[in-house]
């Protein structure tokens, strides 16, 4: 059981890392892009927009964490 937990934790740390928002947004963005293209829209802008939004959001979260409480 312990080995299984360690195995799961290794893959979580390896893929998700210390900012889970990135993995969630990327998987969602790729999924939505795939659905949109199957519905007939060449949804190429979705991924770049998701990337820009994710970087900005995670930077904002890091600033908030680093700021001392007022």
């Amino acid at each position: 059981m312990k080995a299984l937990v360690r195995f799961g934790r290794f893959w979580y740390d390896f893929i998700v890392g210390d900012e889970w928002v990135i993995a969630v947004v990327v998987v969602l963005a790729v999924g939505v892009t795939a659905i949109a293209t199957r519905l007939g829209w060449n949804a190429w802008p979705l991924l770049p927009v998701a990337v820009a939004g994710t970087l900005a959001f995670t930077a904002w979260r890091a600033v908030r964490r680093a700021s001392p409480p007022s």
Partner: protein, 248 residues
């Protein structure tokens, strides 16, 4: 003349794919160390050789779009994690050498545990995925170009010449790259992985990029602009908050 055009077409198409793989391997090797990156390249080449030997012309039936989605999504996640840390370091929100300290601690831990070598799975996986996917695309090019003209040998010759040319280019570029400051290099790696990740996962999801492969250059420029803008904002914010502290 026809043979020359076929070799040239296979050379050009293969070179584009190989340069993409080389970019990733160079980036990972210079920043994370060559040992694991080269191991990743070796295992990827062995896996490719096995697949090509087993499938041969049936290669064209492999679900390349599904592979692109998986590889692209993972590259995009890795790239964004790397880029986020580089942005925070450049913006002054994170220590410049934190990952070195973590890596050194991991090496020390493995040595203490009696492990003979510290293997960097991150470098291995990224190098493996880059070479495996691009290598598979080169194999597709050879099979489709060569197959459609009934001259797979000539297409393979074009790909082999491209491999030599790209390897020589890699050896030439490798030395100057190692003199670039560490965080700038990590920033560059994050940009490349993110841009390649967007491109491949998009292609796998069925997107047709405007301008085809040229879109990759536009994506690199876009990611540089976004990341550079965020660094500028973070630096300005830091200066403003330190001014406030001085005034108080």
């Amino acid at each position: 003349m026809h043979a020359f055009v076929l070799v040239l077409a296979a050379f050009a198409a293969s070179a584009v794919e190989m340069v993409e793989a080389l970019t990733i391997v160079l980036a990972v090797g210079v920043t994370r160390g060559w040992r694991s990156a080269i191991t990743g390249v070796g295992v990827a080449l062995a896996a490719l050789a096995l697949i090509i030997a087993a499938l041969g012309p049936a290669l064209a039936q492999l679900p390349i779009d599904a592979l692109r989605v998986v590889v692209g999504t993972l590259l995009l996640i890795f790239g964004l994690q790397w880029l986020r840390k580089a942005i925070l370091r450049a913006g002054g929100l994170k220590a410049l050498h934190d990952e070195d300290a973590i890596y050194a601690a991991e090496v020390a831990r493995l040595r203490a545990a009696g492990t003979r070598t510290a293997h960097d799975w991150y470098a291995f996986t990224v190098a493996f995925k880059g070479v495996f996917l691009e290598g598979l695309e080169v194999a597709f090019i050879v099979v489709t170009f060569g197959g459609s003209h009934g001259e797979t040998g000539l297409a393979a010759l074009g790909a082999a010449v491209a491999l030599v040319a790209v390897l020589v280019a890699g050896l030439v570029v490798h030395a100057p790259l190692s003199r670039v400051p560490e965080n700038s290099l990590k920033f560059g790696v994050g940009v490349m992985l993110t841009a390649f990740g967007i491109f491949w996962s998009g292609e796998g999801a069925g997107v047709e990029w405007p301008g085809g492969d040229i879109a990759l250059l536009a994506l690199i420029a876009f990611v540089v602009a976004v990341a550079g803008g965020l660094v500028a904002v973070l630096r300005r914010r830091r200066v403003a908050s330190s001014d406030k502290v001085v005034l108080a």
